[in-house]
């Protein structure tokens, strides 16, 4: 009969209207900024560089191998290799990035830089409150802004970070064992 479907539809909206006062399921709004959705571990927004220890320059894991720069699909990473070298966590001499910029106005948050990085140096942050009225300087992040302590990594990606930690500890142990077994080589 004509009108039946309309009445059914009206009943449905009425149910939702009244339900919104009773059931939480019917009122799904999360009132940002006061309420926030839980941030999932996998969430990714823009990359950051990890450093160990307290000193940014000292502990930066990046060795300026430039793989991420090459693989970055939109080409938003800009790296200039240092002239000198510094030791990394296992004591091997490595280059470090003299300049490491990410143009977040171009970055597409694809995480490919993270996937290709062999040094666990770059990871994705989940910070998204980044709006700014500064088009150039505000969105071109230099090394100083990108560097984050390892604790931050552990905090936002705990599962993955602990795995990385364990692996790195093992590598370090191996390197030290190697060092211990071949003291002559090192001495030379």
């Amino acid at each position: 009969m004509l009108g039946e479907g309309i009445v059914k539809g009206l009943a449905e909206t009425a149910r939702n209207f009244l339900g919104s006062f009773i059931e939480k399921d019917r009122l799904v709004t999360v009132q940002y900024p006061e309420e926030r959705l839980p941030v999932v571990e996998a969430a990714r927004m823009f990359p950051f560089l990890i450093y160990d220890g307290v000193d940014q320059e000292e502990g930066l894991r990046c060795v300026a191998c430039q793989i991420c720069e090459k693989e970055c699909p939109p080409q938003c990473i800009h790296i200039e290799k240092s002239k000198d070298k510094k030791p990394d966590f296992i004591g091997k001499q490595q280059f470090y990035p003299a300049v490491f910029d990410i143009d977040v106005s171009v970055c597409m948050s694809c995480q490919i830089c993270v996937e290709v990085c062999p040094f666990d140096a770059i990871r994705m942050d989940n910070e998204f409150e980044l709006s700014t009225d500064d088009r150039f300087a505000g969105l071109l992040w230099p090394k100083e802004k990108l560097a984050m302590p390892n604790e931050h990594y552990l905090a936002i990606h705990p599962t993955e970070a602990t795995e990385v930690e364990a692996r790195r500890a093992e590598e370090k142990a191996q390197a030290e064992a190697k060092k211990a077994s071949q003291p002559a080589a090192v001495a030379k």
Binding site: L2, G5, E115
Partner: protein, 376 residues
């Protein structure tokens, strides 16, 4: 339903309007140059290219891996299926195999994609019909649940960048699977609600039945694929025809329409969502454990042998194909997307002739285009 058009002499009130590229119901930056007699459409020419982002050119200049995040942005409602289509093409080109677990994960995520795409499309269709947002809100309420799943799996809500040639990027946890099962279990309730709200609604029926009829022969000849083709009564679902991935193992039905009008296309989507739920239930139940990547697959520096491959999948919009030519270098020599949205648009004019302008937006909504894919 094409009515006879008035002759030139009778066309005294002919009006040319150009709908778009900024128009609330063109689903993005799409323009239609329409010639109207009163409110009746005499001619309709789609004008596209307002979102032509040079996807193919960019992909040809980038490595095989770098193209994956770009495929996310093709049909930006269904990044997972786009990923799959591309991954399938590269796998064919390079001769990679996919572990079973990865195949199941692929099925799960792409059926979830289908659910959220169809729900949003129906919502948008109703929005075009002037329902002040309510069906769309309900659809997006459910879509957010799928988005949450995608985010906790891949890290991003829309641009998942999840599949890799030879598997998927990360494994899904048992927790995620149970969460997905919960979403799937709740989805039927949503569909019931949606159908109570809409399916029997006389206004919806009056607006959609007999409107925008696409005859079977034209649909086939014009290469229409997806729900639009099946609404015209053609039994052609690539999940059945090609049985790519592990689709051969699931029990599901392909709904078929009879009239080929907007209502049928609407119902196809609703019914397909129900079938997708069946597939999801089976896949979530049967997913095996094991590796999720082909150990032979190399992400960086993949250099397939000289040759070419065309692979296609049933994306929610229709047949999504990828055609790759390799010249042995790390970049594809030719990278081509067969966009279902664009090709389904071919028949827009045929469906709209003789209809009123209010029907045009409804017909367009029922085709389900995404401009990112139309223009690439």
């Amino acid at each position: 339903m094409t009515q006879a058009l008035p002759s030139e002499a009778e066309q005294d009130q002919v009006m040319e309007i150009s709908m778009g590229p900024q128009h609330p119901s063109t689903h993005g930056v799409f323009r239609m140059d329409i010639r109207l007699d009163g409110e009746r459409v005499l001619r309709l020419k789609p004008v596209i290219g307002y979102l032509h982002r040079n996807h193919e050119k960019i992909a040809e200049a980038a490595s095989y891996l770098a193209a994956i995040p770009y495929t996310d942005r093709l049909d930006y409602l269904c990044s997972m299926t786009n990923n799959w289509g591309y991954a399938l093409a590269v796998e064919k080109l390079a001769g990679l195999t996919v572990p079973e677990r990865a195949e199941y994960i692929r099925v799960i995520v792409s059926e979830l994609t289908r659910l959220q795409n169809h729900a949003s499309v129906v919502g948008f269709l109703l929005q075009d019909m002037g329902a002040s947002g309510t069906p769309l809100m309900y659809a997006f309420r459910e879509r957010e649940k799928v988005m949450d799943l995608f985010e906790s799996l891949s890290g991003a809500r829309m641009m998942c960048n999840y599949m890799r040639f030879g598997g998927v990027r990360v494994d899904c946890s048992a927790e995620w699977l149970s969460q997905a099962a919960k979403v799937v279990a709740g989805f039927n309730g949503f569909l019931d609600e949606f159908e109570r709200l809409l399916t029997g609604n006389e206004i919806l029926m009056a607006r959609t039945q007999g409107v925008g009829v696409l005859p079977r022969e034209l649909a086939i000849n014009a290469g229409v694929t997806g729900p639009g083709l099946r609404a015209s009564g053609v039994n052609y679902d690539l999940r059945k025809v090609d049985s790519y991935g592990v689709y051969g193992r699931f029990e599901f039905r392909v709904p078929l329409g009879e009239h080929g009008d907007v209502y049928d296309r609407y119902m196809m989507r609703v019914l397909e969502m129900r079938e997708s739920l069946r597939i999801l239930e089976q896949a979530l139940r049967d997913i095996p454990s094991g590796p999720f990547m082909d150990p032979k697959a190399r992400l960086r520096g993949l250099r397939p042998k000289v040759g070419e491959a065309y692979a296609r999948i049933e994306s929610p919009k229709g047949e999504l194909g990828f055609y790759l030519i390799s010249d042995g270098s790390p970049n594809p020599y030719r990278y081509r997307v067969r966009p279902p949205s664009l090709i389904n648009l071919t028949v827009l004019e045929d469906m709209c002739l003789g209809q009123s302008i209010a029907d045009v937006v409804v017909i367009l909504g029922s085709i389900d285009i995404v401009l990112g894919e139309v223009d690439r």
